[in-house]
């Protein structure tokens, strides 16, 4: 099967020119000035047209992607007249919303510290971006590495905008997180003497990523999900939160859920709420394809903002440079950064290198957009999408036969199903929306500015500044999952409040009406709508961007 005839000549050019790129050839790295210019001219974060200022609410004036503004500035999905807060369905010490790595870690930790915990989650336990994380978890574990170097790399990668105290907690607790996961039985790739296989993700200065083949997140999620079941922590599946409930002083006292099977709303009262709802990928910011899970619709941002939580850096979106551009069935899904770390070059339609394979995600994405746009050196597919080549056959040529399959069993298997053999042929890639760098501002315990409301993982902002480094998100969710879980278990509200209300939601709806803001949506969105012709439009998103680049 292989690639269609129209794309074959370009594949052949890559093959012909591959030998020039062996023998340790590397494209020169960008200088600090060159990188700044590349980002300014070609990274979507720097294009003003894709962003707007919020017109209402606690974050009025904040720059956000247009698609996020559209859901934030929609009336609530919740029919306020149909909810009776006097009839509580459930009371708990700690309510965790979301069950990816951050949510389950917070739940396990709060439980371990003696709190009664309930998890409410939109889909199944574990359905999240965590499960899709291929690359690994960043931990300064090698003797020559240190949390100090990890700190420097994270700050530089984040364009110096990270919150220093939060980064300190991240890098200091990373090693104990690796130990914790290992003790729970996660089978990290190990050597015979018990030491870990490490590899170097882009933007890091040492081999710092620890993986389980290319299925790291899957393995961690399986283990943690199993532990949640062993501890018999209550999990309400297919019951996403739709609004938070507040007390008289604006403190968070619970949430209203929507049972997706029955349509019934559930009122949960809680002494503390930990939100671990993930990012906004499925809103398709700037029209990009996304590597995100089906449920990544920014629900947490929408609900928290209505409850007066302050956002930080929410306009900064990470595009992963190596999203799959062909076959169409896999469009937008991710190819691990580790493929580049293992030696695969990034080359254009003529098989020529145009960027160093180890540039940070933002710079590499910008370089690919420039190659496909302005320089017209992209590869055009049958469906009109564009891409450049990730030269995967180099990995076995350089590292020895069997290297690719050993490291990337999952990727190999998925491409073979569509007739493409990454051992023999390069893979077509194009940037894909990958991560929401900002979110609700947090402190070192994961606390937001709203009392008793915590944020963990992608929904939180400040850990990664303007740009997250590869392998830093897995460590983020576990470090701050542990921190928020512990702090919430020790500090949740024990006293009853005089009145619990959804007045802030009513006020939000009224403010929109007063400002004359009209929307054909209600939010949080919960799930994207891909029905009918929208099932196919994912290819058009790319076209629009290529046009805009010209």
């Amino acid at each position: 099967m292989s690639y269609p005839a129209g794309m074959r000549p370009s594949v052949e050019k890559v093959e012909q020119r591959r030998k020039d790129r062996l023998n340790n050839y590397e494209f020169p790295r960008l200088s600090t000035e060159e990188k700044a210019l590349l980002l300014k001219n070609h990274h979507p974060d720097f294009r003003d047209g894709d962003k707007v200022n919020l017109r209402s609410g606690a974050n009025k004036g904040e720059r956000v992607p247009k698609v996020l503004a559209a859901v934030m500035e929609s009336p609530s999905r919740l029919n306020l007249d149909s909810v009776d807060l006097r009839k509580t369905d459930c009371k708990t010490d700690v309510l965790v919303i979301g069950s990816g790595g951050g949510g389950v870690t917070a739940a396990l930790t709060a439980h371990e510290n003696g709190a009664k915990v309930i998890i409410a989650t939109k889909l199944r336990l574990g359905d999240s971006n965590t499960i899709m994380a291929e690359g690994g978890i960043a931990v300064a574990s090698l003797p020559e590495d240190s949390p100090v170097a990890h700190y420097i790399d994270t700050m530089v990668g984040g364009r110096f905008k990270n919150i220093p105290d939060v980064v300190e907690a991240l890098v200091n607790e990373a090693p104990s997180i690796l130990e914790w996961l290992t003790n729970l039985g996660a089978c990290f790739d190990r050597k015979a003497d018990g030491s870990y296989f490490n590899h170097m993700p882009a933007g890091h200065s040492f081999k710092r990523s620890h993986s389980v083949k290319d299925l790291t997140g899957l393995e961690l999620m399986r283990v943690l999900g199993d532990e949640i079941r062993n501890k018999d922590i209550e999990v309400l599946e297919f019951c996403p939160a739709v609004e938070l409930i507040l007390g008289p002083d604006g403190q968070c006292v619970g949430a209203v859920l929507e049972d997706l099977d029955t349509g019934k709303n559930l009122v949960i009262e809680a002494g503390a709420v930990i939100m671990a709802t993930g990012g906004m990928g499925r809103l398709h910011p700037n029209g990009f394809p996304t590597s995100n899970h089906y449920g990544a619709t920014a629900d947490g941002i929408v609900m928290a903002s209505r409850a007066n939580a302050k956002l930080l850096y929410i306009e900064y979106i990470q595009y992963h440079p190596t999203g799959i551009a062909w076959p169409e069935q896999m469009l937008g899904m991710l190819l691990s950064e580790a493929i580049r770390a293992e030696g695969a070059h990034v080359v254009n339609c003529d098989g020529e290198p145009f960027v160093n394979r180890l540039e940070t995600r933002d710079a590499l994405s910008a370089a690919i957009l420039r190659e496909c746009g302005l320089r017209e050196k992209g590869v055009k597919t049958l469906t009109g999408t564009m891409g450049v080549w990730l030269d995967t056959p180099m990995i076995d040529i350089k590292g020895g036969k069997g290297n690719f399959v050993r490291r990337f069993a999952g990727i190999h298997q998925r491409f073979k199903k569509h007739g493409i053999d990454p051992l023999q042929e390069p893979l077509l890639v194009y940037p894909t929306q990958h991560y929401q760098n900002g979110g609700v501002a947090i402190n070192v315990h994961g606390q937001s500015n709203v009392p008793y409301l915590y944020m963990v993982g992608e929904v939180a902002g400040g850990v990664h500044g303007h740009n997250r480094l590869g392998a830093n998100s897995l460590v983020d969710i576990f470090v701050f999952g542990r921190r928020a879980g512990r702090h919430a278990a020790e500090n949740f509200r024990k006293k009853p409040v005089a009145k619990i209300s959804l007045d802030h939601v009513k006020a939000h709806n009224e403010e929109l009406a007063a400002l004359g803001i009209v929307s054909n949506l209600t939010s949080p969105l919960l799930l994207p709508d891909y029905r009918f012709e929208k099932a196919l439009t994912s290819t058009n998103y790319v076209n629009e961007i290529v046009e805009a680049e010209r």
Binding site: D153, N172, M330
Partner: protein
């Protein structure tokens, strides 16, 4: 992609006919047909196991299983997605189990009911030799269970098809955790790093960095990068 230029084919969803473009995955074909999926869609990339689907192709008596997001439709395919698969999952404390004892069989006694029919392997959408790892589990070869089952996406199709009523994917997870907890050696290097951090070995240096200006941080980063060279 323009709908007019697409070649359209018929598929059957729970027996009802829909006309969709060829070459779509089952998931996209369902969406093109107008289904908004709640149960039966997850990562859309073949790793989460949410979209287990059972189907028959026209004129073929075989029952075929697959993941909707990874399987391309055939003309006249007749399919249904499985919203949920119940499974057996006992409680256990992983650290307290002796991996070299009969505890494995005590926790999952149904292991011994395996009759070697291989229906599990045939049903696996990620081509795991399920029956082989069940055999390895019965033999007590934990390492082989880990190696054979590490790519499991927990879709539950093996449990749905097993005539001996095993939940193979839960058994594999249990054994992988047992192996990881008890059989993999500790890393002294990691233990030392954790201890050093607890004792505050890096505290002063990081405190200083928190007050260091961006230009200096950038220089320090450049130095680190220069030292690492091209090898990764």
């Amino acid at each position: 992609m323009n709908e007019k230029t697409l070649k359209m084919i018929s598929i059957y969803v729970m027996g009802k006919r829909f006309t969709v473009p060829e070459d779509l995955t089952i998931l996209k074909a369902l969406e093109f047909s107008g289904f908004k999926i709640t149960r039966g869609c997850g990562c859309r990339g073949g790793v989460c196991g949410a979209c287990a689907t059972v189907y028959r192709n026209k004129g073929d008596y075989h029952i075929i299983t697959g993941l909707a997001c990874q399987t391309v439709i055939e003309p006249e395919i007749n399919l249904v997605q499985l919203p949920y698969i119940s499974s057996n999952k006992p409680f256990y404390a992983i650290r307290e189990i002796n991996p070299d004892s009969l505890d494995i069989v005590k926790i999952y006694p149904e292991l011994m009911r395996c009759m070697g029919c291989n229906a599990c392997t045939k049903s696996c959408p990620v081509n795991i030799p399920v029956m082989n790892y069940i055999s390895a589990a019965i033999r007590g070869d934990l390492k082989q269970v880990v190696e054979l089952s590490i790519e499991c996406v927990m879709c539950g199709l093996c449990a749905a098809r097993c005539p001996a009523e095993l939940s193979p994917y839960n058994i594999a997870l249990f054994i992988r955790r047992l192996y990881g907890t008890h059989k993999l050696l500790k890393s002294p290097q990691l233990e030392k790093r954790v201890k050093d951090i607890k004792q505050g070995v890096f505290r002063a240096e990081i405190s200083m960095l928190k007050k260091t200006d961006n230009k200096k941080l950038q220089e320090m980063f450049n130095e680190l990068q220069a030292k690492k060279g091209a090898s990764v």
